[in-house]
């Protein structure tokens, strides 16, 4: 099967993959706490903005679950992984062209490595989430439950999804010069068509079904399940698993098909 060969190739080079990820993180954090601050400051600022706009100005208390700030932060942190990963995987092959020209590694590695580095950034930003959770637990507004165990499932699905998208975008950006602009626009639209600042329940019935086909809907559902007492939307989770794996297969095929053209271009 097609995925197996790629997986084997990557597993054989897992030490190199780890080296690259460590390098990414070292460049990102530069050994200083300021670097870490940058990872969390953006989602925190966004959370503050949406909190003010939606709860103080629109007085739309029902768009998310309560406490709304917690709801926002889960969504925004996950989205940061999503958008950062898309932006960087689409440039992954171009940005490392010198390395790719001089080392014979499975080319998928350059995409997977970005997704993993961004995932670790996401995991490292979890203490912020923990901080808010503790705050709301003390206030008595938060309700943790055993469904917290679904968080790793969400991580896994999002990893699969992002790898798939990255495998599609990376070669296309190399061949078609203005893909990066399109990615930027699509990301902006994606932000609002993903239940980050609102919950699926707040959308009109006609849109609810459509939202379920956004694979991030189910993934966010998994992340949030442990923090909020609402019923888990199983349909969205199943759909997102199916779509994520579908995209991974498509991505692997696209990447394989375009690989030799890409190598000639970079």
């Amino acid at each position: 099967m097609i995925l197996v060969r790629q997986m084997r190739g990557l597993l054989a080079k897992r030490r190199i993959l780890a080296t690259l990820v460590r390098r990414d993180l070292r460049v990102r954090y530069g050994g200083s706490p300021i670097g870490y601050l940058w990872t969390i400051i953006d989602p925190l600022a966004m959370a503050a903005i949406y909190f003010v706009v939606f709860t103080l100005i629109f007085k739309a208390r029902s768009v998310g679950y309560q406490p709304y700030v917690l709801f926002l932060i889960v969504g925004l942190l996950a989205w940061q992984w999503f958008s950062g990963s898309l932006t960087e995987t689409s440039r992954a092959l171009l940005a490392e062209s010198r390395l790719i020209r001089s080392t014979n590694l499975p080319r998928e590695l350059w995409v997977v490595r970005v997704v993993i580095a961004k995932m670790i950034e996401f995991i490292l930003s979890m203490p912020v989430l923990a901080g808010f959770t503790i705050f709301y637990l003390i206030k008595g507004d938060a309700h943790l439950n055993a469904r917290l165990l679904l968080v790793p499932v969400g991580l896994f699905l999002q990893f699969v999804l992002l790898t798939g998208i990255g495998l599609i975008l990376a070669p296309i950006t190399t061949l078609v010069t203005d893909t990066a602009r399109v990615v930027r626009i699509v990301l902006r639209m994606g932000f609002y068509s993903t239940p980050i600042i609102y919950g699926v329940h707040a959308a009109p019935a006609s849109l609810r079904e459509v939202l379920l086909f956004n694979p991030m809907t189910g993934i966010l559902e998994l992340y949030r399940a442990g923090f909020f007492p609402h019923d888990l939307n199983y349909k969205s989770v199943v759909l997102s698993a199916v779509i994520s794996f579908g995209i991974l297969v498509i991505g692997t095929l696209v990447f394989e098909r375009l690989e030799s053209s890409v190598l000639k271009e970079i």
Binding site: I16, T103, D178
Partner: protein
């Protein structure tokens, strides 16, 4: 005779005539197509040969005859459009020597990173670190913890050469890198390459320098516009090449 380490069968690759494709979505949408020239040329065409372990092969040919392309395909950083090339064992590519180096990181970090990319463990690099730096010279040693981009180009290439030649890979590909570096360093490179050869490694060398070719290679492969037109003793092939060059073909 042992199994060949490099086996090329009808190897071929096509390139677009203008190097970049220059496709853009805007153009595709507005004009329903792209202006990129679909005309291709064969950078390599039906190239077949085998190389036995321990052989020293010199690749000869004029500019644009496909030498570097062939080397890149052996190194696995270009994929063939036709035919196949099979390489048994790892390859130490002295092609883009500083390709794996990151300007912002220090020389020390870069040594670990690049050797890591070529499959050495941290312990193995620890072991070889001193000899790598020794080879790269005292200037490099003095600047071990400064960012790599502050190195002079000579120092960069020296460090690159030192790292790649300490790898254990059984096949060494060399693309014109001997032209760089000062005289003293070049001599050091020659000595290192000779010791690699006598250590049983397979050498694949691209050069325009006849003396380099004679010094290292026993066998010559002669490429002309992507086709293999000569394969034999290095002296004979050089003679053939010179005769062609003088005749103006």
């Amino acid at each position: 005779m042992a199994a060949p380490v490099i086996q090329a069968d009808n190897l071929g690759i096509d390139f677009f005539r203008n190097r970049r494709r220059k496709m853009s979505l805007r153009e595709m949408i507005y004009t329903g197509g792209t202006s990129h020239n679909k005309e291709t040329f064969k950078a390599l065409d039906q190239v077949s040969f085998t190389v036995q372990p321990g052989e020293a092969v010199g690749l000869i040919g004029g500019n644009g005859s496909g030498k570097s392309t062939l080397l890149k395909m052996i190194a696995g950083v270009l994929l063939p459009d036709h035919g196949s090339v099979r390489v048994r064992g790892g390859v130490a590519p002295l092609i883009e020597l500083t390709g794996g180096f990151i300007g912002e990181l220090s020389a020390r970090e870069n040594v670990y990173l690049t050797s890591g990319l070529h499959g050495l463990t941290k312990e193995q690099v620890d072991e070889r670190f001193e000899s790598i730096i020794d080879f790269a010279g005292p200037q490099v040693r003095a600047a071990l913890d400064t960012p790599f981009r502050h190195f002079s180009s000579g120092m960069q290439v020296r460090l690159g050469f030192a790292v790649i030649t300490t790898l254990d890979e059984p096949i060494v590909l060399v693309d014109e890198v001997l032209a760089v570096g000062d005289r003293a360093f070049r001599e050091k490179c020659y000595t290192r390459m000779e010791s690699m050869l006598s250590g049983g490694k397979t050498l694949f060398l691209v050069s325009h320098s006849e003396s380099d070719l004679r010094r290292f290679a026993k066998r010559g492969l002669y490429l002309q516009q992507g086709r293999l037109v000569g394969d034999g003793d290095i002296e004979d092939v050089l003679e053939q090449y010179n005769a062609d060059a003088d005749a103006g073909t």
